[in-house]
Symmetry: C2
Subunit: 188 residues, 2 copies
Amino acid sequence: MSKQEKIQATALRLFVADGFHGTPTAKIAAEAGVANGTLFYHYKTKNDLVVALYNKIKDEHANNVQVFINRDEFITTKFRNIFIHSVNWALTNRDKFYYIQQFNFSPHLAQVSAETLEQHTFGYAGFIAEGIRKKLLKQQPVSLLISIFNGHVYGIYQYITSGDFEPAEKEKIINEGYDMLWDTLKYM
Amino acid sequence: MSKQEKIQATALRLFVADGFHGTPTAKIAAEAGVANGTLFYHYKTKNDLVVALYNKIKDEHANNVQVFINRDEFITTKFRNIFIHSVNWALTNRDKFYYIQQFNFSPHLAQVSAETLEQHTFGYAGFIAEGIRKKLLKQQPVSLLISIFNGHVYGIYQYITSGDFEPAEKEKIINEGYDMLWDTLKYM
DNA sequence: ATATTTATAGACTAATTAGTCTATAAGAAG
DNA sequence: CTTCTTATAGACTAATTAGTCTATAAATAT
């Protein structure tokens, strides 16, 4: 792990635990085992670090989803896989998932350009549009279906993290959660 | 408007615009037209103000929903009304809706007791449980249905606020949004 | 080898800001 | 009318902290 990666990992952990403002750059540097100057060498400002971390996590997730989109499977299968993977990703990367929400509801979001934001849902868009065209999904705007999809992922995530479930139970909830989403989004 | 109310209203506006840490208490006091000492007379600490504001907004919303729950109507009608009202409330009180999310994804949340948090969904719980018992809603845990409900409100809200829609369009989206939610939650 | 760039260290500072302190004013109670 | 409580004001401070500065060390290129 390079010093830069250590800084990122430590920043993620501390930002999630104590918030952006509750985390001094000095603490990040100290817990990452690097000097103050090193942090500011890699990131011109604290704000730069906050934004870079966001973009990195978003990229990681988008690339993750892209793999499922690219697979040569029937569109409804893909759709199911993407949902299940998204929930599982959120559950196994809670810090990262939380960080995205934390960032989304902060003034930092305004610093990310609309294009960058769009790029992160770019993978979905074409895929969802195809589903609509082929009359597998409801005849509604792509972005509405994406919003509902995300809202549903979020809802299932909230439910699972609010309780204490066995792995098998979790899987069952996710599967049934998918069925419920499908009831919402399927054509007719 | 009392000085205290002015402080709350100004704090809400500034916290949403600039974040918790981006808003000095001195600025809140100045823009509310009160002295520094007055703010700290009403709220022992800045943190107290942040938490009090959260509880106030949550209470307001919970009381709002309660009115619909108490109405003497058929349960499915109530359900629909609550969904539509929730989306409309979020749309006409964007600052407050945003503030709740901002707070939920901040370390401040840990300062709100589990009971207080539960109390805010208390109204829903009995009502949803009734719907499940009467086999109008899916045979799933109450809290799962609430999570999905909230996730869906959030999704529709996101979609509407991300575009520029006429009032009539908004209404149509909300109504269709409800139909989609109902497809997910209805029994069979 | 030597020069240049990249990476790291850690002491220092200038600015910011939460909260305190003292002084009053307004209102309620006796 | 006077005592006590509540509400308001605004100057002040002690602590925190983002970012700078200078010095090297390591790596890369010439």
